[in-house]
Symmetry: C2
Subunit: 217 residues, 2 copies
DNA sequence: GCACTTATCTGAACGGTGTCAAGATAATCT
DNA sequence: AGATTATCTTGACACCGTTCAGATAAGTGC
């Protein structure tokens, strides 16, 4: 029978008859396409093609195209929170924690612009923040902790919440706008993109403000 | 002949035989779809349908689908700069100009979320800011002026540029994040969305910083 | 007035997309 | 081994952006 040969050919590719873990393979393929061909090329069919599978196969693992890209985005959020964790750990003085988080956030977004866009899009429609927004190791939780260690009263819940949101807004704004080509001249003047990012974040001055409030007290 | 009747029917619709100003009609149709059906429904064909015209007709007025939505976006930018102008005029004390601009910016984005997204998207790929970024009446120019009237040295070009960009980043970040559903509870606590927006912008504290710097001097 | 050119619109077509239902195939369970 | 379940393929549908040949109207020179 024909399918026997086909089966063997597939097996020779190292790919089991039912492909093993297609779900994971699809997410990886999606990310590869995103990086190499841009967000416009990220179609369900293209992902299936990249994973070497028929266009209908993904529907056994994801409800939707949306569902698939949400999975890609989710991976992105996890990586981002790792990057933030590392950046914060690297800052010796905890008072620098906040700005280091900000720089790490923006740098991640700038290094994976298409992915970051996807992440934001997928977060828009959700009820809650990118799923891990609650626990301590999440980005949100880390910002909150950094704010506390910089002088925000942990018992003033509203203030803490507002400050955290504000910091997040600042990072998001810079992350998306830093890519504008019009800024390239200024970036060069300042010796690269990172100093530029740092300067902008510094202007937004969350760290400065709270450090001052603490100093005044 | 059949086409004679058709011509008359069309003329009875008040639509001239060659539709008069399709270019404008398409932009309006696009915006209507965007508001009523969301960005996913904004297809070239849908726009043509809404304007009562064949799917190929838009190609005589716009190079691309991109070109059409860029026109929609451009209208949005003009309206936004008008909104900013009004907000700034309304602020009696020029020292409040900056925060009023910020609130107006975010409110516009919140009232036209899909349009704002379109505007941002169309700005991403361009070399320069949304075309009118240079002249004084543009949003960028108005922010710069407001910064000067709040104490930034007009001769320190880099500082002025950085501060303007920072303000813009803050507004953009808040504009996009303010829509997250997770903030609804906090918004209600604070008596509506505008106080919430104001509080966040205040935390980003550009106005506060420069007002202080000026006060210290 | 009339021919001619030009701008504008239609119709049909192409390849690509998301999605689904029906059927084939492989893994799993009893 | 036989039945069940999970997984994948095939083929189809409607929609999309885009193009091209042809129809129609507007404008232009005589």
């Amino acid at each position: 029978m024909a399918h026997a040969d086909l089966t063997r050919d597939i097996a020779q590719d190292g790919r089991p008859y039912h492909h093993g873990d297609l779900s994971r393979a699809l997410v990886l393929a999606g990310r590869r396409i995103l990086e190499k061909e841009g967000p416009a090329a990220l179609s369900l069919r293209a992902v299936a093609r990249e994973a070497g599978v028929s266009p209908a196969a993904p529907y056994h693992h994801f409800k939707d195209k949306c569902d698939l890209i949400a999975a890609v985005a989710s991976e992105g959020w996890q990586e981002l929170s790792v990057a933030i964790l590392e950046a914060r750990a690297k800052a010796s003085d905890p008072r620098h924690g906040l700005s280091e988080i900000g720089v790490a956030y923006v740098c991640f977004a700038r290094q994976n612009p298409a992915l970051y866009r996807l992440m934001y899009d997928s977060a828009c429609d959700r009820e809650d923040m990118p799923e891990h927004a609650k626990d301590e190791s999440s980005g949100y939780g880390q910002v909150r902790e950094a704010l506390i260690s910089v002088g925000v009263d942990p018992n003033d819940h509203r203030e803490l919440r507002l400050a955290t949101i504000a910091a997040w807004c600042a990072a998001h704004g810079v992350a998306e706008m830093a890519g504008f080509k019009e800024f390239e001249g200024l970036k060069e003047e300042m010796g690269g993109e990172v100093p530029f990012i740092r300067a902008i974040l510094d202007h937004l001055g969350i760290y400065a403000r709270h450090a001052r409030a603490r100093h005044d007290a």
